[in-house]
Amino acid sequence: MIELNKENFDAEVLQASGLVLVDFWSEKCEPCMALMPEVVKLAEKNAGRAKFCKLDTAGNKRLAISQKVLGMPTVVFYKDGEKVFTFGPAEIDADGIDAVQAKLDELA
């Protein structure tokens, strides 16, 4: 997975063509730490179908807020630089990674 930060976010996500998944996380966020291995697995299983990225919000707080992310874990799909779907903490808690996979199948 690509590690995003202030420097590469625009190029890797907003100016990228095709489908991009971004996992917003931080070390202090336990549900994020629980989700991360599953996102990694999902990225491996679906290699080539989308670009898989993660953004550590520690140190990139303003960037996360600019993407309207103020709660974690959050997984966002971008298509051709446009935000097309957001899984917030509530959706992740209720449906987990399966819902993310289903959305990927729909968008890819």
């Binding site: 807020i65 309207k68 709660g71 974690m72």
Partner: protein, 327 residues
Amino acid sequence: MSVVYDILIVGGGPGGMTAGIYGSRARLQTAILEKGKPGGQAATTTEMENYPGFFRETTGPGVMGEFEAHAKQFGTVFLKGNVTGVAFEGEIKSVTTSSGETYQGRTVVLAPGAEPRMLGVPGEGKLRGKGVSYCATCDADFFEELDVIVVGSGDSAIEEALYLTKFAESVTVIVIHDEGILDCNKRSSEKAFANPKLKWVWNSVLEEIQGEEMVEAVVTKNIRTGEQTTREVNGVFVFIGMQPKTEFLKGKVALDPWGYIPTTERMETNIPGVYAVGDARAKYLRQVVTAAADGAVAAFAAEKFLEGHVEGRLTREDIQKLTEGSK
């Protein structure tokens, strides 16, 4: 799946993991099904200073990591899965996960835990993850130099409010009670009243959360005067108690009118061989230490059940009484 576990545990919080420790140590094939990282709610709070023996700089995730290592050391199997269905009819019980997998057990320990209760006010659902939060450790970072409010005055509310003061510019606590009255423990209230970064709004409830793409303001109402006040804030942290995560058990196991699982002193539910522990159980005090105690009792009871001693079970009449009032 052809494996039939002796004890199949649904949920990997402190209750489930203690059942795992006791079950495995009794040389029973014991597995825990957990959808996320083991530790339950205890793993989402850093402040934890009331689990006996752990008081030197310990955290929720730290203590839960020890529980996990302890269970694994005795051979508890940790399985990943979000249980959405159960079948308790036969002698062999089975549970199914959201990804369609089925697991079987001769006995089942239900440890699904609880989740934060929502306020149920306009704007709350729409703005969750956009300034409305139920997890301070997850989201506190975002509110550095910003203004947040906390709703509630129990242990979680006050302890998380104190945690938030390390990040936010101001933390205002909305309390339904008269001035000076909090529902939390004395030690936390003393700490809270001594903290200059905490502000208090008494006799009040939250009526609405406003904002388009992010939280911009809240409306509070003074329950004495009926007066409404709009307050500009960036974050709303809600800690008004919990609700049991027992939706998937409706119609399968007897629940009380609030969704909690009534049990005997031996953690037996109304279904022979099915036990319930932790925060989802109908009980007086919900803490890591009581969840752990439940887990020990349930695993011991399950061991005796597997040996054929099944006395002390709830009768149909007992359950009828316990569930009276539910639809």
